[in-house]
């Protein structure tokens, strides 16, 4: 941890939400909804165009109780009260099994449409939620960055108005670019009042020459709202943050949202209507299971499972079945050894999931050893940027070099070309 200088602090402040979304400062533009709307009706995203859905699990999902080495005695002895028995897990082969809450994903696994990348992390792992999430979302483990990896992809996609969308009220860092930022949509309905009031409100969105950047961005958000309301007038209305249950709240101190099913439902609707967006960001929170982990995590994984399964089924019925690839990740896994509260503290590597018709199902990457540990933590075997590079190249058809600073790694066997 030595050698982290003020610039790192600034990055931390930025991405932890304590300072600003720095990339959205001077001269930033947001998604142009007029273009989006025009193209959704006149020129919808052509079938055959890759679409990426990123699912972020906030809090640090315990990978060892997700893809479970149940028959490994080192696993059983490290967490006797927290471990799943071999008979409880959904067998995947190679001594690993899925958490019993993930029956839908087991079905996808059996049809070879679920890829599990094992031991995913990055060198010199950071145990802070906020920094590790920043590293994943900026894809910049070594040096600070103020832009997210999909934000840089937005920048790189130039004047072509294909864009990235999130359904969070606050922009996730991964969608913040230098020049462009993804748009956020409320999962509930958008209805601008009719008449003089609505008209006056929308007129506040006009750019004003020489305006302070924060004012300009406030104005732009009103224009975007008008155009989003028009584009999404038929989208289904959901409550994005229903009251949470006790199980989720136990691991909730590290952020993230609920109602993943509703978020993915909205995304599926947008994809079906041909909105020309190629990247979507959704999230599920509650994985910071320092205590009473088993029930909490299994419930969250069940929610993840049913949301992903329903989404996959819906997309498979559409004409986009071969276009959509979904990635699921968390900022880190957890310590191998349980703590005294029937939970686990922050750890390092964890599994990432990829789903879709183009995914080559099965295991990718090596399972980290449970005996050769780094100060009690798993040693990562796969760099997460290998996954990003593959997704950028094969799904978003963009040269990863400019987005990931020449990161050379790939997982060639992850997706069909």
């Amino acid at each position: 941890m030595d050698g982290l200088k003020p610039v790192t602090r600034r990055r931390f402040l930025t991405w932890s939400g304590i300072a600003a979304a720095g990339a959205l400062g001077v001269g930033a533009t947001q998604v142009n909804w007029s273009d989006l709307l025009a193209r959704a009706s006149s020129d919808p995203l052509p079938p055959g165009t890759g679409i990426l859905v990123v699912v972020t699990l906030y809090g640090g999902n315990d990978g060892l109780n997700t893809v479970i080495p149940a028959s490994d005695s080192a696993y059983q002895s490290a967490r006797p009260d927290l471990a799943y028995k071999p008979s409880e897990v959904l067998d995947l082969g190679e001594g690993l099994g899925l958490n019993p809450g993930m029956k839908g994903l087991k079905g996808l696994w059996d049809t070879k449409k679920l890829a599990i990348v094992r031991g995913v992390g990055y060198p010199q792992p950071d145990h802070s939620h906020f920094r590790s999430m920043a590293i994943w979302q900026t894809a910049s483990p070594k040096s600070p960055s103020t832009t997210g990896w999909l934000g840089r992809w937005l920048d790189a996609s130039g004047d072509d108005p294909i864009r990235a969308l999130s359904v969070e009220p606050v922009l996730p860092p991964l969608l913040a670019g230098e020049k462009t930022a993804g748009a956020s949509l409320p999962a509930s309905g958008l209805q601008i009042p009719q008449g003089a009031l609505g008209k006056a409100f929308l007129a506040l969105g006009k750019p004003q020459v020489g305006e302070n950047p924060d004012f300009a961005r406030a104005a732009k958000s009103i224009t975007d709202l008008a155009e989003a309301a028009q584009a999404l007038k038929d989208a289904k209305s959901h409550d994005p943050d229903p009251p949470t249950d006790e199980e989720r709240s136990k691991g909730g101190s590290a952020g993230g949202r609920g109602a993943l099913g509703a978020q993915l439902d909205l995304v599926a609707g947008l994809i079906e209507t041909g909105v020309p967006s190629r990247a979507y960001s959704v999230s599920l929170g509650g994985f910071d299971t320092h205590a009473d982990e088993r029930g909490t995590q299994q419930r969250l994984l069940s929610e993840l499972d049913s949301a992903l399964t329903a989404f996959t089924e819906r997309i498979n019925r559409s004409n986009r079945a071969n276009d959509v690839v979904t990635m699921v990740y968390s900022e880190f896994g957890r310590r191998v050894r349980a703590n005294a509260s029937d939970g686990t503290d922050h750890g390092t590597a964890g599994p990432a999931f990829l789903l879709g018709q183009r995914v080559l199902g099965g295991f990718h990457g090596q399972q980290p050893s449970l005996t050769d540990l780094d100060n009690g933590d798993l040693k990562p075997t796969t760099d997460f940027r290998d996954i990003y590079a593959t997704l950028l190249e094969r799904v978003l058809t963009t040269d990863p070099a400019q987005i990931l600073s020449e990161h050379p790694g790939r997982l060639d066997a992850l997706l069909t070309a």
Binding site: T8, G22, L185, P213, A338, N339
Partner: protein, 408 residues
């Protein structure tokens, strides 16, 4: 760099260190307002609601709503806005969510501690927070025992509350967790205490200091690190001045004001006295609660006087904008800056604006500018003028203008 004029600087004082100007409060000189606003540290406002005892963890939406409406009401009504401003600041700093605490009484007790100590010395505040019952539940402090430590509280305490990331090692996190072992919360009495047999009395080494550290001595150690005053000053700077970090010479002055007594009131006054505070570029995007409370103070609206249905609409609107008191999204608190200016939030903002201006009367485009202390741009003047004869709609749209959504 250019500086904002006297009137805008006075408005900034009210918006950043207070909770927004009430009618007539913009008519004094900067120095007068600064002395009065920043000098008033005696809490005032409506007393908290009487709550039912909560012997067990339980979600009680009615009590939760009661304390939330009460706090918003107090922010709208108080004659000591700095006190409530700092209580609100510290709530975002020591961000604790009722979602996991599941006890309105414990949240309220923490709130009162933040109010009582928020302008005193940071050592006392930090000492109170590390064994605050709601905090212990929120960060699993009471699950942390000698048998095996739970690192959650110790890590976040160093990273987010006292030092900042990068100022400690992973080994320090593990050792700090040991120092914090053994604390238990009694929900019946709303107190926390150490259970001796669950506390690890052994020697620990944190940041190079070795000894039988406990919660008290750990906090003393952390707040006396050189990184701590800089971290606290920067956190305040972000909220009160803007997202451009303070220059080194500014930071040195702020740390000097904070001084060996860790004087939070002196630090706040030093921030307000910095010339950069009046720099045109030092804009702050209002957090949703700041915006809502500002509207309520300007139009003399009290949440306590709204119907139950309208109170619920107000809270739903805040949720739509992404910020409800007592429910921070994570231990890192709420974001700042343009992250608030999303399409999704704009919709909720207009709905809340209409709710709060439903009964106002007698305003014109120019009298609203006077009331709110802003100068309308040509764009905004043109947008508002068609509503000149519909004062309620005019007021609703005016408070959604960029000039008011951002503290310029």
């Amino acid at each position: 760099m250019g500086f904002v004029g006297e009137r805008a600087a006075v408005r900034r004082l009210h918006e950043r260190f207070g909770l927004g100007p009430r009618p007539g409060e913009l008519n004094s000189r900067f120095d007068q307002v600064s002395a009065a606003l920043l000098g008033n540290v005696t809490p005032s406002g409506p007393p908290p609601p009487q709550l039912q005892p909560e012997p067990k963890a339980a979600k009680d939406p009615e009590q939760q709503t009661a304390i939330t409406v009460w706090w918003l009401d107090r922010m709208a009504a108080t004659d000591s806005p700095l006190v409530e401003r700092m209580t609100w600041f510290w709530h975002g700093h020591f961000a604790t969510s009722a979602q996991k605490v599941r006890g309105a009484g414990l949240m309220l007790a923490q709130n009162e501690t933040l109010r009582r100590l928020g302008l005193g010395d940071f050592t006392s505040l930090a000492q109170a927070m590390i064994v605050d019952p709601a905090m212990l539940i929120w960060l699993d402090g009471q699950k942390n025992t000698a048998k095996a430590a739970n690192e959650n509280l110790g890590r976040e305490y160093m990273e987010l509350f006292t030092l900042g990331v990068g100022q400690y090692s992973e080994q320090d996190v593990r050792e700090a967790a040991r120092a914090l072992t053994g604390w238990k919360v009694d929900r019946q009495t709303m107190t926390a205490s150490v259970v001796a047999r669950q506390h690890d009395p052994g020697s620990k080494t944190v940041l190079g200091t070795t000894g039988p550290l406990d919660a008290h001595s750990l906090v003393d150690l952390l707040v006396s690190r050189p990184a701590s005053p800089r971290f606290i000053a920067q956190r305040m700077w972000t909220r009160f001045v803007g997202r451009t970090p303070p220059a080194e010479d500014v930071l040195v002055r702020l740390v000097t004001a904070y001084g060996p007594n860790r004087d939070l009131h002196a630090l706040v006054r030093a921030i307000a006295a910095e010339p950069v505070f009046r720099d045109e570029a030092s804009t702050v995007v209002k957090q949703p609660v700041d915006w809502v409370v500002g509207v309520m103070r300007a139009f003399k609206i009290r949440p306590s006087e709204l119907s139950t249905a309208d109170q619920k609409k107000l809270l739903a609107g805040l949720r739509g904008m992404g910020q409800v008191p007592f429910l921070p999204p994570s231990v890192g608190g709420w974001p700042s800056g343009p992250a608030w200016l999303t399409t999704a939030a704009g919709m909720s903002r207009l709905q809340v604006a209409r709710l709060l201006t439903a009964k106002v009367d007698g305003f014109s485009v120019s009298s609203l500018a006077d009331l709110l202390g802003v100068d309308w741009s040509d764009r905004t003047r043109a947008a508002l003028s068609p509503l000149e004869r519909q004062p309620r709609q005019l007021a609703a749209v005016a408070v959604c203008a960029p000039e008011y959504v951002v503290s310029g």
